[in-house]
Amino acid sequence: MSPLAPVLVFGAVAEGDLLPELRYDVTATTVVLGALATRDWRPMHHDKDFAVVRNGTRDIFLNTPNQAAWFERYITDWTGPHGRLGRVTFRMRDSVFPGDTMVLDGAVSEVILDDTGCGWVGLDVTLAVDGDVKSTCAARVALPVDHTDNPWHRRHDRWKP
C-alpha cells in the first residue's frame, strides 16, 4: 500500500498566506447539536425562553467548546489529516445566534522549524458575523516537513507544542 500523501506540506506555506473562507448558516439545530456534542447541558444553549428571559440574549447561542470544534474543523480542512494541532488560544467576544451566517477566515502568522525538525505554522483565525468578529483563535499546527515526516508520530522530546 502506498502511503497517503499529505494534503499540505510545511514548505508550501508562507507567512501571510490566507486560508479559504468558510461560510455557514447557523440554525437552532446547529446550536443544539453543538451543545449536545460537547455535553453542555446549560439551558441557554437549547432553551430560547431561558436565553431570552434569564440571559437577556436574543436567542440561544453557540457554546464555547463547540466553537473550538468549528475552529479545529476549519484548520484541518486546510491542512488535511497530517496536520496536528499543538496549541490553540481562544478569545470569545460576542455570541453567535441562529439566523447568523458565520464566516471563518484565517491567515498564516508565522512558519517556524523547531530544533527537533518539526514544522510549525502559526494561524490567526477569526469567526465573524456581518463583519463583526465574534471570537478569535490563535493556533499552532504542525505540518509534515516532507513526504516522509508525520507530525503524529512525534512523541516526548520530539513534540514541543
Binding site: 479545529e72 474543523r73 490553540v88
Partner: protein, 177 residues
C-alpha cells in the same frame, strides 16, 4: 487579607480535585462531534487513514474537555460535577464576587483514543497582586487543568486566565472583604 493571600498562594503548584472520567472515551461521541461541525477529516471516519496516519482512531484534540462533562444523567450519581472548582474557590476565599475568564489556551500532547480513561487535575499557577481594570479591582490568576491517560501520559493542558474583582463602586468604598 494578607494572611488569606498567603494561604491562597501556598496552593500554587499543588494538584487539586483529581478526578477520573466516568467512562472511557467513546468513539460514537467523536462522530456526534464531527457531525455537529461537519468535520470530514478522514482521521475520524476512515479506519485505513487513521491506521496509517495516527496508528489507529483518535478523538479530535479540541474534544479534551468534553470527556469531563458527563452525560446528563447516570444511575446513582448524586454529586454535581463542578468544572474549574479552583476558580470558584479563589473567588470565595478572596471575597471577589465577580469574575471573567480572559483567555483560554489548550496545548495538546499524546492523542486521545477511544477507550482511553482520562484523569484530570487542577493546578493554580499564579495569583497576581491587586490590580484595577475598567471592570473593577481584583486579582488575575492562572489555572492549569491537566489531562492524563491511563498510562500516566499527558494528553493535554488547558490554561485559563481569570480575573476576580469587585465592581468599581464597591472598590471605591475601600471595604476589604
Amino acid at each position: 487579607m494578607s494572611a488569606v493571600i498567603d494561604e491562597v498562594r501556598s496552593l500554587v503548584g499543588v494538584a487539586q480535585y483529581e478526578e477520573t472520567g466516568e467512562f472511557p472515551v467513546e468513539r460514537s461521541y467523536v462522530w456526534t462531534m464531527c457531525a455537529s461541525v461537519e468535520n470530514g477529516n478522514p482521521l475520524f471516519w476512515d479506519d485505513a487513514v487513521a491506521t496509517e496516519v495516527t496508528d489507529g482512531p483518535i478523538a479530535p484534540p479540541t474534544m479534551l474537555s468534553v470527556w469531563f462533562r458527563p452525560h446528563h444523567w447516570a444511575p446513582g450519581r448524586s454529586e454535581q460535577h463542578l468544572p474549574l472548582k479552583v476558580h470558584f474557590d479563589l473567588k470565595e476565599r478572596l471575597g471577589l464576587p465577580e469574575a471573567v475568564m480572559t483567555d483560554n489556551t489548550i496545548v495538546f500532547f499524546e492523542p486521545v483514543r477511544p477507550g482511553d480513561v482520562l484523569t484530570t487535575r487542577q493546578i493554580l499557577r499564579s495569583v497576581s497582586d491587586e490590580k484595577t481594570t475598567k471592570l473593577g479591582t481584583g486579582r488575575f490568576w492562572v489555572i492549569d487543568v491537566e489531562y492524563t491517560n491511563q498510562d500516566g501520559e499527558t494528553v493535554g493542558v488547558e490554561s485559563y486566565t481569570g480575573f476576580g474583582y469587585r465592581r468599581g463602586a464597591d472598590a471605591a468604598s475601600g471595604s476589604p472583604s
